[in-house]
Amino acid sequence: MEIHPRPLLSVEGLTVEIAGANVVDGISFSVAPGKVMALVGESGCGKSLTCYAMLGLLPPAARRSGGHIRLDDRDLTALSQRDMRKTRGKDISIIFQEPSASLDPLTTVGAQIAAAYRTHHNVPRAEAHARARRMLADVGIPDPDRRFHQYPFELSGGMCQRIMISIALICSPRVLVADEPTTALDVTIQAQILDLMKKLVAERGTSIVIITHDMGVVADIADDVAVMYAGRIAEIAPVQTLFEKPQHPYTALLLASIPKLSDAPKADLATIEGRVPTPNEFGAGCRFADRCPLATEKCRAEQPPLFDRGGGHRSACWHIDRMAEIREVAA
């Protein structure tokens, strides 16, 4: 059996509340040094809020009402605002979905990277600029000396995401959170950005938490996957295990909905019937029950815990003995 190294980042029972409803409800997962954890789920499942909660950047309407975030031995949720600011961008960084909008339109990209370094290091401007230039080269931007003096509107979306990655990594953080980093980009650029992220993980040993709804991205980059549904983790497993042997009906249906080349041309795309319940529709039972082909009275009455399926694989379902039925439904 694989020996799990001590986690670098662990999220323990994280709960986020908006207007009295737990939109993130007791999420736990951990990431080992240099590993990539993917959080997967539909829009509104709470994956982005989980990320923002990790950086202490929840929007004003949302509030962390429980749980802890540990980075090494430090509990980030116990830090003062001031200490959390010193941690953000230095020990834990984030890149966003819309790279162009995440840069100040009126400042050159080089100056923005250098400023990110100087936020956490008291060094002369010239030194920060030199580091920023090296960083531009590291993230694969051709002609960094020219790009340094350009403004965000002069760069493509893919270039802007490389700039965001430079800003996020210039202080050599331990953890990089990536909130749908490739969603707004062209498919070819997506692959380049993912390759870049993999390279940086390998070189620097940075751990990544990546949020996506794209199973292709997951397969490409992740070591472990947590599938989220309506604010809870439905299933969490090493990536290969999850793809080969999903142990939750939602995961199985999600995987079945990915179009395959072997599908008949113009065949209807597989979908999951129904919709995600809104927070005030959450009942006592499993939140997927209304859409689940395996659901029984027990599912509606009682929330299944995350059962350990062995090998780091856990899933929240009462009926995995009937998973074969899902494969029939999906086929």
């Binding site: 950047l57 010193k86 961008g89 966003f96 909008a101 995440s102 009126l106 400042t107 800003i167």
Partner: protein, 306 residues
């Protein structure tokens, strides 16, 4: 960028030409100007004589060409009351109005913009509510009323400040406040909206995510981005201040062009009025050109793209 500048200057020239033409047309639409100049009991011959003397009996387009030609020579005609060039009369009063407008602009920007910043960044706080009340007051109390209230409180009751005239520097305090109050509210509201708008943008969240405080993010990134709409307002407000000076200067007996405008209207000295109207129009055009050029400095997207 050169293109952009040239384009803006051409637009300004067209606007100025339009203003000159409109002023000319209005002057002649309001009837035969000769009738304004003669005593009520003048005979028909006297009127015809004067009309011929002043050239008002020529075809309108000849008068128009003549008017434009005169303007190119900086000849705005003679004041019919004082018999000196209208331009000289306005020029002698202009420094007072510039002084007053500068004071009002200091009040407007110096109080308005910081208030806008505070209202945008400290939403829901007590200080925001206090400032909001001041802004609404400045915006809704008519200038002539606030001017009279100021005179009553600080001039008559407390006797801290002179009630009228321009004999000493502190005499400009009250007129500056009265004139700047409306602009101050406009600056406060516009900068508040611009900043709130910017605060919702992704780059602000990204700034916080790299470890900046909200204050640092505002001062390093937000203010510059929010300044673009505020510059537009500033250009308009400078023109508005000159127009507002007409009322304020009358209330405070301030010897600027606003007071002159009222006096000239009353004495039917229409060429002086014409100079003042043209001057205020030029200021509007000039400040909007200046604003366009300031955008170029602030926003690289204008500088580099066009």
């Amino acid at each position: 960028m050169l293109n952009y500048t040239v384009q803006r200057l051409i637009q300004a020239l067209v606007a100025i030409f339009g203003v000159l033409t409109i002023v000319f047309v209005i002057m002649h639409l309001s009837g035969d100007p000769t009738l304004l100049l003669v005593p009520q009991d003048a005979s028909a011959e006297m009127i015809a004589e004067l009309r011929h003397q002043l050239g008002f009996d020529r075809p309108i387009w000849v008068q128009y060409i003549d008017y434009l030609h005169g303007l190119t020579q900086l000849d705005f005609g003679m004041s019919v009351v004082q018999r000196v060039p209208a331009l000289d009369i306005v020029a002698s009063r202009l420094p007072y109005t510039i002084q007053l407008a500068a004071g009002a602009l200091m009040v407007a920007i110096g109080i308005g913009i910081p208030s806008g910043i505070i209202m945008a960044t400290m939403r829901g706080s007590a200080i925001e509510r206090i400032l909001a009340a001041i802004v609404v007051t400045g915006q809704s109390v008519p200038t002539f009323l606030s001017a009279i209230l100021l005179i009553f409180i600080f001039g008559v009751t407390l006797r801290w400040l002179p009630t009228s005239g321009a004999s000493e520097l502190r005499a400009m305090i009250m007129p500056s406040i009265a004139l700047g109050a409306l602009s101050m509210s406009t600056f406060a509201r516009m900068s508040r909206i611009a900043i709130i708008d910017e605060l919702g943008k992704d780059y602000v969240r990204a700034g916080l995510a790299r470890g900046l405080s909200l204050g640092q993010t505002v001062f390093r990134h937000v203010l510059r981005n929010a300044s673009i709409p505020v510059i537009t307002i500033a250009a308009l407000e400078i023109g508005n201040l000159l127009a507002g000076a007409v009322i304020i200067e009358t209330v405070f007996a301030w010897p600027g062009i606003g007071q002159l405008a009222i006096q000239s209207i009353q004495s039917r000295d229409f060429l002086v009025v014409q100079v003042i109207v043209l001057l205020i129009s030029f200021v509007y055009v000039l400040t909007s050109v200046l604003a366009d050029l300031v955008y170029v400095v602030v926003d690289p997207r204008i500088r580099l793209v066009r």
